[in-house]
């Protein structure tokens, strides 16, 4: 083989659709990963963390308790839900201790004891929920999905009040709904710890449908086409 022929055989990497890519010896590089499943770690400090550090939250900051409880300085019934509930929901993005724990437990207590006060706060909760889901981190996803399941049963009409916001909440659920690996005879320990994202999403959508009234299913189906009703059929 002559030197000229050798030179012609040298392959040339080129981006797809570029002028270079049309040369005979060019090798077109594959497209970059879209990154649909890629986690976006928390970069900016959450406002929950800021308020916690500043001592603005009505909770007693104890670092020595063994339990899974938080001590409230003010009775929950007297709290302004419009102010505090979105603040605690904002903390759902946190994975770092103690912020994550206080946010989770705070949301849990407020939902458990809020009653009818929760329904009117729903519009303010959508942005924190969306931000938490957008991180696409398994740990944050699990926490948020469990909170959503608790939210729909926390008071009457909450499920129905969420229906107009499915467009904000469900796209990320649609991406991860199939994240339920078949391990053959292997054991997925996440199952017993309730950390399997696919299963949690299925449970959440079923809760949405059950408590969302008659329009819920069609709205869910619009955003998550692979979802099948748990009530119809």
């Amino acid at each position: 083989m002559t030197d000229k022929a050798k030179e012609n055989n040298k392959s040339l990497t080129a981006d797809a659709f570029s002028v270079k890519s049309r040369l005979k010896n060019s090798v077109v590089t594959p497209p970059p990963a879209a990154g649909a499943f890629k986690a976006n770690p928390l970069v900016k400090q959450t406002s929950f963390r800021k308020f916690y550090n500043r001592g603005d939250l009505p909770i007693a900051l104890e670092h020595d308790t063994k339990g899974n409880k938080i001590a409230w300085k003010v009775e929950i019934e007297k709290l302004d839900y419009h102010h505090y509930l979105p603040m605690f929901f904002d903390g759902l993005r946190e994975t770092k201790h103690p912020y994550g724990f206080f946010a989770r437990q705070g949301v849990h207590d407020m939902l458990e004891h809020g009653g009818n006060k929760i329904t009117s706060v729903i519009p303010q909760l959508i942005i924190p929920i969306k931000k938490a889901l957008e991180l696409r981190e398994a740990k944050v996803l699990c926490t948020t999905l469990k909170v959503l399941q608790h939210l729909v049963v926390s008071a009457d009409l909450v499920g129905e009040a969420l229906v107009p916001y499915y467009r904000q909440i469900l796209p990320v659920l649609n991406i991860f709904i199939s994240m339920n690996c078949n391990l053959g005879d292997g054991i997925d320990y996440g199952q017993q710890r309730r950390e399997n994202v696919g299963t949690l999403i299925q449970e959440t959508l079923e809760a949405f449908e059950t408590y969302g009234g008659q329009d819920a299913f069609i709205n869910i189906k619009y955003m998550v086409p692979t979802y099948e009703s748990c009530r119809l059929n």
């Binding site: 339990g67 409880k69 001590a71 409230w72 300085k73 458990e112 004891h113």
Partner: protein, 90 residues
């Protein structure tokens, strides 16, 4: 008469072996720092708030004035059952 003298003193104490409603009740008081309902009502002079369906304790005021809130369902984990003290006053 000071409040401390009114607090009933238990006569005996046993450790719980198995979970029951009584153990759950004692667990909730002991998480908040009280021996039981007798001590709580004597110290705080408050009625205990309970969940309407299950009858479990809903809310307690701790000795330092902070509030603890409890779930509708069982809270006491199996691993903590043996630590619960059941006081008897007779």
């Amino acid at each position: 008469m000071s409040a401390a003298s009114v607090i009933p003193e238990p006569k005996s104490m046993t450790r719980a072996k198995k979970w029951s409603d009584e153990v759950e009740e004692a667990y909730r008081f002991q998480v908040a720092g009280y021996k039981g309902e007798a001590e709580y009502t004597a110290l705080k002079g408050l009625e205990v708030e309970r969940w309407p369906d299950s009858g479990y304790i809903k809310k307690l005021t701790r000795k330092d004035g902070n509030f603890y809130y409890y779930n509708k369902d069982r809270e006491c984990p199996d691993k903590d059952v043996h630590q619960i003290k059941i006081y008897s006053y007779n």
